[in-house]
């Protein structure tokens, strides 16, 4: 609970500090898992709570049942803080999962035909990100008054190729859609792409660059901002060992960050 | 014991009202077996259900042991009902309970502690002849055995009155006799008042002391069974009395004997009660120069003496036949010339 987190970081103490962090299974929970031994050395006993959606980890953080969470990027965090009035802070980014747009039949952005389907996850949190990526590649134009992070399909103002957006597919089904809906563009989060035996760097038609603002962060309640245990957690996650684990394990599909 | 005054019950449904029981007044004495007979829809069931207030009367009063059943509170009514046993045509046993548990049910309802129930239940099981079947479920019993359980159950709370609604109508003739014998013996042993609904005349004949005949909610006739049998007034009653002697109804076969010959007359003889002259035919044959052919009919014993009808043919001189007729009248046997059959 909260109490332990606040008193955490006192490595002189014999009692290990309990830390509970919420995460989605891949890759966040796996990265945390990898960090466990190092944290133990630092006197921190890490418990990982896995979540399947993007609303509840923040709810759980708000009601105090976890000390921090590790699943979201800054734009989403900001948006959620605004919408739900959370008093959260980011303790720093750990990695970027570049989102990619894949297609079985389309091999070049220039060959995208009129009326092509664009399939993306039903997670509202990622819609803006996909749309921003499409905008960067000149396929659509978003309403300039809208923050690209929270943009919705409705905010597309220019759509020269008449792309057809389907933004309601279960994220877990995206790879299956890539396989079967061969004429469509499918925006797949990197974690699902990896699990679906896709290699983002090779298979993606469009891949987010490392300049992406979507670094995944450790988030916690403002009151915990100075928690030593959480600071230690961030440090460990940015350590060389963990960073090289990410690079190797995820085949370049995950880009570690350290700022 | 039970006095019913001007009892009425009207059912109102969407499209019409039914006067199921209409201004019925009856007196039933302690220890009576009181029969109520009538055709389907006559209001018999409604009548008996009014007595224990399964239906609320529209009008009238039911005085049971000096207690007016119509002005009881809910709680009082429940207590009162515990003193009225009821037996149903379809037994209405709980299939989820054994014979023992079914009979113990009214005792549970009356709040009698478990320990005190056992003796009573076993005694009743013995009484209705089901010893050894305590742990059977109703589905393992024959119709007659089920009705015995029903009877035992209705007696569990030592009721003063037993209501039977077509208690034997679902049983075959054999079993019916069996159950009726049981009812008579209980009536005698426990001095229980029994009100018995039926549409079968022979049930009335066999065990009832008094009878009321219902038709369209009215009691059209009531009194001692023999009185009603002897002088059926209403058409309904006549038809029921006929039921008892089916041959009496089918008088068509008499046609062949009804001729215009003055020397032959078809006569109906009606024997009623203890002093019915059983030797009548023999007497007449001796005293008069006349032949008596028995055509059809029957004589049977009832609770109150012999009862029956014989159709006979008198053969002889017209004057002799006339004399015979007059003689028969003096013996108390009913006599009637049948000169046509319709």
């Amino acid at each position: 609970g909260t109490g332990e987190a606040e008193g955490g970081g006192n490595s002189d103490s014999d009692e290990p500090v309990e830390l509970t962090v919420g995460a989605v299974p891949v890759p966040h929970a796996e990265i945390l898992e990898e960090a466990k031994p190092q944290l133990e050395e630092e006197g921190i006993n890490l418990t990982i709570e896995t979540f399947q959606d993007y609303i509840l980890p923040n709810e759980a953080l708000a009601d105090g049942s976890i000390d921090a969470n590790f699943f979201q990027h800054i734009p989403y965090l900001e948006d959620q803080k605004e919408q739900a009035g959370y008093d959260f802070v980011s303790l720093g980014g750990i990695h970027i999962e570049p989102i990619g747009i894949y297609s079985k039949n389309i091999d070049d952005v220039d060959n995208i035909e009129e009326g092509t389907d664009v399939i993306m996850s039903r997670s509202v949190a990622s819609h803006g990100r996909v749309l921003a990526l499409l905008q960067e590649n000149g396929l659509i134009k978003l309403d300039s008054e809208v923050n690209p992070v929270t943009a919705e399909v409705d905010d597309v103002v220019e759509n020269p190729k008449n792309l057809n957006f389907d933004a309601s597919i279960e994220a877990g089904f995206l790879v299956e859609n890539y396989e079967r809906e061969s004429d469509a563009l499918v925006a797949i989060n990197t974690n699902y792409a990896i699990e679906g035996d896709l290699n983002p760097t090779e298979d993606a038609l469009i891949l987010e660059g490392s300049e992406s603002p979507y670094a995944n962060v450790i988030a916690t309640r403002s009151e915990n901002e100075d928690s030593e245990a959480l600071q230690t957690l961030v440090e460990v996650l940015r350590s060389d060992e963990i960073q090289s684990f990410m690079e190797e394990e995820y085949d370049g599909a995950i880009v570690p960050v350290s700022e | 014991m039970i006095t019913i005054n001007n009892l009425s019950k009207t059912f109102k449904t969407k499209d019409h009202t039914v006067q199921a029981v209409d201004d019925v007044s009856i007196d039933i004495e302690k220890g009576d077996i009181y029969g109520v007979i009538g055709y389907s829809g006559a209001g018999k069931s409604t009548f008996v259900r009014l007595i224990n207030r399964l239906e609320d009367p529209t009008d009238g009063e039911i005085i049971l042991n000096g207690q007016d059943m119509t002005d009881l509170s809910k709680a009082q009514l429940r207590l009162e009902r515990q003193k009225i046993g009821m037996i149903f045509q379809h037994f209405n046993l709980l299939w989820s309970r054994t014979v023992y548990e079914n009979i113990a049910f009214p005792l549970e309802i009356a709040g009698i502690p478990k320990a005190n129930r056992e003796e009573k239940v076993l005694e009743l099981i013995e009484l209705v002849g089901l010893k050894g079947r305590e742990n059977s479920y109703p589905s393992q019993l024959s119709g007659g055995q089920k009705q015995r359980v029903g009877i035992a159950r209705s007696l569990a709370n030592d009721p003063k009155v037993l209501l039977c609604d077509e208690a034997t109508s679902a049983l075959d003739p054999e079993t019916t006799d069996d159950i009726l014998d049981l009812l008579v013996s209980i009536n005698e042993k426990l001095d229980l008042t029994i009100i018995l609904i039926t549409h079968e005349m022979h049930v009335i004949q066999k065990i009832c002391h008094r009878v009321a005949v219902m038709e369209q909610g009215h009691v059209v006739e009531q009194g001692d069974v023999l009185d009603v049998f002897m002088n059926p007034q209403s058409k309904t009653t006549k038809r029921f009395v006929q039921q008892l002697n089916p041959q009496e109804g089918s008088v068509e076969e008499l046609k062949d004997f009804i001729t215009s010959d003055e020397r032959s007359k078809v006569v109906k003889l009606h024997f009623v009660g203890h002093n019915a002259k059983r030797a009548l035919i023999s007497d007449v044959s001796k005293q008069f120069d006349i032949n008596v052919n028995i055509l059809q009919g029957s004589i049977s014993p009832t609770q109150e003496g012999a009862y029956g009808t014989l159709y006979v043919e008198f053969q002889g001189e017209p004057e002799t036949i006339e004399d015979v007729m007059n003689y028969v009248k003096t013996t108390g046997v009913g006599v009637e010339v049948i000169d046509h059959v319709d």
């Binding site: 699902y192 699990e195 | 009821m86 149903f88 299939w95």
Partner: protein, 222 residues
């Protein structure tokens, strides 16, 4: 050998998930049984011609039952957050799934209970009334025992539906076999895990069906 056919199946996780599924199913079956019988009794008793005949109460209960039967499970979980939080102090884990599971299946079971109660012979109820029984006695000694086989086979059907329902409770971290199949099997394309979970689920289904059939046969003396 089994590890050849099921290379990705982690038996420890399987047992944990099985435990979670069984835990959620048991508790929610229990809750559904009680709440469903209560609602079913209310539906039955307030119906026309029955002991507590009451048209408006009957309509209200019928509306509640119909409405909660139709609300999608995920919305139901959401709507019950405040209640769950108040009751359990958390909105996550197997326990937090229970309110939604129970509220989602009790109305369905209530309908089955009502159907079962309607089958109880009116004559038997009348006989109890004629003996001077209280309504409570009629409920507990006549209505429920006489409809028990129907109540049992109804809860068997409901329990089997609940097993598949628990999979959806995965969204609030309740775990269970359905969730394991989805998370570890499907999402990671480990078809062996999907298969293994499905087999476990089927086995549980058959055990439930068997127990249900056995009990209902045992208590049915008709």
């Amino acid at each position: 050998m089994l590890t050849n056919i099921f290379p990705n199946v982690d038996m420890e996780k399987m047992w944990v998930a099985t435990y979670e599924t069984l835990y959620m199913t048991f508790i929610s079956v229990l809750g559904t049984f009680i709440l469903g019988i209560l609602l079913g009794l209310l539906l039955y008793l307030t119906n026309k011609g029955n002991l507590w005949e009451n048209k408006s109460l009957n309509s209200i209960v019928a509306i509640i039952v119909n409405v909660s039967r139709a609300i999608p499970f995920i919305i139901l979980i959401l709507l019950l957050f405040p209640f769950t939080d108040f009751l359990l102090g958390t909105i996550r884990g197997p326990n937090a799934a229970l309110p939604a599971l129970i509220v989602g299946s009790a109305p369905f079971y209530a309908r089955l209970v009502e159907i079962g109660l309607r089958e109880v012979d009116k004559g038997v109820i009348e006989a109890a009334k004629a003996m001077g029984a209280k309504t409570r006695t009629i409920i507990f000694k006549v209505l429920l025992p006489e409809s028990m086989p129907a109540l049992i086979s109804g809860i068997t059907v409901t329990a089997i539906a609940l097993i598949s329902y628990t999979a959806m409770a995965g969204v609030i971290g309740a775990g269970g076999l359905g969730d394991l199949a989805y998370m570890e099997g499907f999402q990671r394309r480990n078809n062996d895990v999907v298969l293994a979970c499905t087999i476990f689920i089927v086995v549980i289904v058959f055990i439930f069906q068997f127990i249900g059939d056995w009990i209902s046969k045992r208590i049915d003396h008709r």
